[in-house]
Amino acid sequence: MSDHGVLPSDMDPPDALRCTPPGVDFGTIDRLLAGRLEEADAPPGYEGVAELVAAATPPVDPDELAGEQAAIDRFVAIARAHSPTPTPRGAGTPGRPVGVKAAALIVVAVLSIGGAAAAATGRLHRPPPSGAGRTASATTDGRAARPPTAPPSTAAAPAITASPPRRTTPPPRPGLAVALAHFGEVLTTAQRQGTVDPAAADLLHLARDVGRAVQAGNGEDAHKQLADLERKVDELIQQGKIRSVAAGPVREAVAQFRAAVHRFRLSAQATGSRGSGQPDAAAGGPEDPPAPGRGDPPDDRGSGQDR
């Protein structure tokens, strides 16, 4: 970036002075920068900006995600360093009664599973006027009212090695909603890549039904639906509607989903009441006070202190 208020003289062709674009309103600038104005719709003189925005925001390139494993390694290393006493995920406290807040969070979890699945299949329905949307936004808004917590200190953070040893302890396991969201992501990614037929979107509906059944305490139904889901996956693979390159990731995602369903059932049984396991949305804890609407600064400096 240039540090001065003018362009270097050798960068601007002389034509620039004769090509001053007409003024436009802030709203148009906003739409241009957000990529909501195509070149054809851009005001005169700003077609090039619309082209620039399009050129600057191409679809995600796999190279841009090349560092994923390293990032996950860092995450695991830091998470482990900050969790000296590992607690099994998904294990509810035996005998603990389900409070009103916990029940509300379970409802949010069920609804968010539906939302995730619907979003992943592109069949997101408008939420009912007093149902999912309101419940979910109430949770979000409620969290937004929490006073800011102190920013985390980085002083005591562990040193991160490039390749920390992995799998020395059992890795964290995804919960029901996350496993379902992951399954949806695998499917939609494969669909975008053309390795899965659009008909496979039904798999996600089946998975969502499984999630609902298990969270409603209908373990037997969930078990049957899960078997249907796996059978359907096998059929689609045999029919070539899930191509071999995508078969592995899809099967793996289904297996993870199955494991998450199983864990959820176990935790529900442990608490002795149906649906009382720890759904993902409740991970913050029923007693969690609401949170601020924006994140804490990521380190001990406030934003913009450099100038």
Partner: protein, 189 residues
């Protein structure tokens, strides 16, 4: 955007679920990397990794929605940029190692490259050549996908100032690109 499942994904990541973290990372890494390729091109990937480490360390205390999380990550990334720029300014001038310049060969005329070849690299270069504040605002708006108020929070400025910087930067880009378009017409005509 992750959308309606974001709260569940965030909660799971805060609980140590690496797959949930991967969902967050995959959603935001391209945007933050693109921003850094404009703000600090030689070290974009390193700074992105540093920003994520900062976010991971504070993840357990984060409270907010998906937009707030995005803003938080970009705040971390911008802090890394500011640190890097300070370090560069303090160091005596040294030639960059060749390795840092691989893949960052700018076209001779980035404006023409944007118009004719829709070159992403040229688009980044054009933004980066703007005055610093304007370039930063446009990078956060276009590449980071942040709204005006979010950019204002990330940069610690007023929304009105951000809007004005965006306006001036956009007009300057338009002027540059229109000049290239006219020159192209002249050449081909």
């Amino acid at each position: 955007m992750i959308g309606s499942s974001f709260p569940a994904v965030l909660a799971a990541a805060q609980d140590g679920d690496e797959q949930a973290f991967a969902v967050l990372w995959r959603d935001l890494q391209p945007a933050v990397l693109r921003y850094l390729q404009v703000a600090a091109p030689p070290v974009a990937e390193d700074l992105a990794a540093d920003a994520w480490v900062s976010v991971i360390r504070g993840l357990g205390r984060f409270r907010g929605d998906e937009r707030a999380f995005r803003g938080w990550l970009f705040t971390a990334a911008r802090h890394r940029v500011v640190d890097w720029r300070r370090q560069v300014a303090r160091r005596p001038t040294q030639p960059l190692p060749d390795g840092l310049l691989v893949g960052w060969v700018a076209p001779d005329d980035p404006a023409a490259a944007v118009l004719e070849a829709h070159s992403t690299r040229a688009a980044y270069q054009l933004i980066a050549e703007l005055p610093h504040d304007q370039a930063e605002v446009l990078a956060l708006r276009i590449l980071g996908g942040l709204e005006v108020a979010e950019v204002a929070r990330v940069m610690g400025r007023r929304p009105g100032a951000v809007r004005a910087l965006a306006y001036r930067g956009t007009r300057r880009l338009a002027q540059r690109l229109e000049a290239a378009r006219v020159a192209g017409r002249r050449v081909t005509g």
